[in-house]
């Protein structure tokens, strides 16, 4: 595989990870850039699990940057507009209203997730890392990964219940999984 091929394969996942962790498009873009520079400076072809390795570098750099900035995730108006444009092009008006409400709600919910939970969530759902790989990346036990993942889902569910969101209907509100 060439460097360009590697870049094309993982650039979106790395960017999304950076974006969801940093909540800032510019920072995400710069850090995504840095992740690949870092990767290419190393002997990347000898790495067995490239995907997990790259996601791990991305996550470490995100966490470092977050720590440095002591950043609480800031609301990015620009991103919301982009979301509106993206949905407007394919949905009917009625759907747009409903979808938009849900999107904004999700945006808000994701923003409220603490960094620790967000790290597990992005590695799991964007990076598609196994629980063991997440544990290795974050240097925490697998049990902690599981509990953080569960906590993240539970937190989001709780928030949705508070907001009495429409689309929660149909799911057993008091059930546990």
């Amino acid at each position: 595989m060439t460097e360009r091929e590697l870049f094309d394969l993982y650039n979106k996942d790395v960017y999304r990870t950076c974006y969801y962790m940093l909540r800032n498009a510019q920072d995400a873009e710069d850090l995504c850039h840095d992740v690949f520079v870092t990767v290419f400076r190393q002997d990347w072809q000898s790495i067995e699990h490239t995907r997990a390795w790259i996601m791990r570098i991305a996550m470490n750099q995100c966490l470092n940057l977050l720590k440095r900035k002591q950043a609480q995730l800031k609301k990015q108006h620009q991103v919301q507009i982009l979301h509106e444009q993206a949905t407007a092009s394919i949905k009917s008006v009625d759907t747009i209203v409903l979808e938009k409400a849900a999107e904004e709600e999700w945006e808000e919910l994701l923003k409220q997730l603490p960094d620790k939970l967000m790290a597990v969530v992005t590695l799991r759902y964007i990076g598609e890392l196994s629980l063991t790989e997440i544990a290795e990346t974050l240097n925490i036990p697998v049990g902690t990964v599981k509990s953080r993942l569960h906590k993240a889902l539970k937190t989001m569910r709780k928030k949705l219940e508070q907001n009495q969101s429409l689309w929660l209907k149909g799911e057993n509100q008091f059930g546990t999984h």
């Binding site: 850039h33 982009l82 979301h83």
Partner: protein, 549 residues
Amino acid sequence: MERIEKKLKNELKNADKMAYPDFDKMWSSIQQDELKITETERLVLPPPRKRKKYALVAGLAIALMATPVYAALNYDWSDILSYREGIQTALEQGLGQKIEQSITKQDITLTVHTAFIDDNRTILLYTLKPSASWKGDHIGFDRIGLKDEDGNFIEGDYVHQWNKELGVFQGYFETSWVAQEKVADTQLTIENIYFIGDGKQSIDYDPTNNETQVFPIHKDGIDHVTLQAFEQGEGRVVLQSAVTFSDADTKNKWVRIIAMDPMNKPIQEAESPVFGTPEDTGAYINQQVFTADSIRAKDASFELSYMHNLGVIKDTWRIDMKLSKKQLKNSSSRDVLNIPLENVPGGTKVREMRVTPTQIRLLLTSEEKYTHIPYTKYQLAIGEKLLDGGRWEVENNPYQTELRFEVAGLSMDTLASEPITLIAKRRVDVVDGDDQPIHLTNISAKPQSKTSTIGGYPITWTYYTKNNNLYVESSSPDAEFGGVTQTYYLHQKKRNYGTPLIISLLGDDNNMQIDEYENFKDKELDIYIWKYTTNDPNAEQHVPLTIGK
């Protein structure tokens, strides 16, 4: 819950909704091989071959752990090693060189149990068992240290405490000396053991009187004690005691004032006390801050508490040992970093990092002597783990400072693979004063006040005479202002400095200072600020040291 998970997955993974940057442009930029964010933070990437070295190191560390030494585990060292967690961790892992050698002289048995020797330091765990009939509360030595093969005496620090159950003093001796060879013939030497008891003497101190009060003691090597109180604002009183000794041996025996409430219980100080600052005259100064209400309560009483020698056994206890670096040396690494510290004066940089299984030391070098490194709290972030560290002066080298971090709960494997970041917190800057005089007028026993500003900080000055001395107090309502370190006046172009009476610690929340000018008779005086400090308790600087594997 599945539905939420599905929705979340979709939300995060759905490419349609995400506004991606121009990846082609990013690709061209990546080709430049320059970091955007991390470069400015001076990220250091270890070259690939370093990883191989680390891999080898990790293998050795595991092999060493597989052959544990259990001898020292008969004793519980965790209490005494609470500030040496790295040693405690190594001990738990069975690392360390088993010594188990004893010497008994005059009914006192000294035993060296375990030695830890790596590229940073040498630590010996010892016990001292006095005869069953010993009396006292503590023991001390005239001298403790190591002798190397050439007979050179190597000094170090020791800490020990009484273990009531076992009837021994348990302690450790620590020195930065490290044997040059793999195996070194060494001797631990202890000269003259003192038995020390706690002594008390009540004093008739009047806390409502701020005049200097002198109390003759003439007992246990203490001649007299002088007490002086200063109002500190916020209802606090600084109680300063100067202890004068008649017997030099009694020095450093922790003489302090204990204030007691009407129930005869000790009154807790409102701030951390400072004990034993030596004065030119040979006296020894303590500074304790109390709330005025507590020590001025009716029936509050005061006593002098101190340690004094009950007896001495003059002899030398020696134990010969062959100290071996083998165990810990193999898993140590030393990296030259040369990472400049931003916004730190004196061209200061992190020159090198020395990692051993028990401790990480960062050597900071500055281009100027005695550079003030403006942080008071240091941590190392290793992956998710934070290690607390402390700043140490490097002996005989004013251009260097060391930051030491005890390694606890981290394997060499983790140390090698995780990114390591230095975090410096709570900034305190020392700033030069200016040439603007503060004009003191109508100087008399009656306190006068005036205000001035420096560097944008307001300062309130209060001055008065007492016992023929002039006292100049300075303080600021701005918490960012750390305090005037010292004032001076000019006499025929020569600076005459006041004597600061308050012992202030960098970064403490007290910016009041009092300078004393002895035998002052004039009515007016122009004083100048020599230096002042500023505090930024929320400042935090992150310096990535290694990026990890």
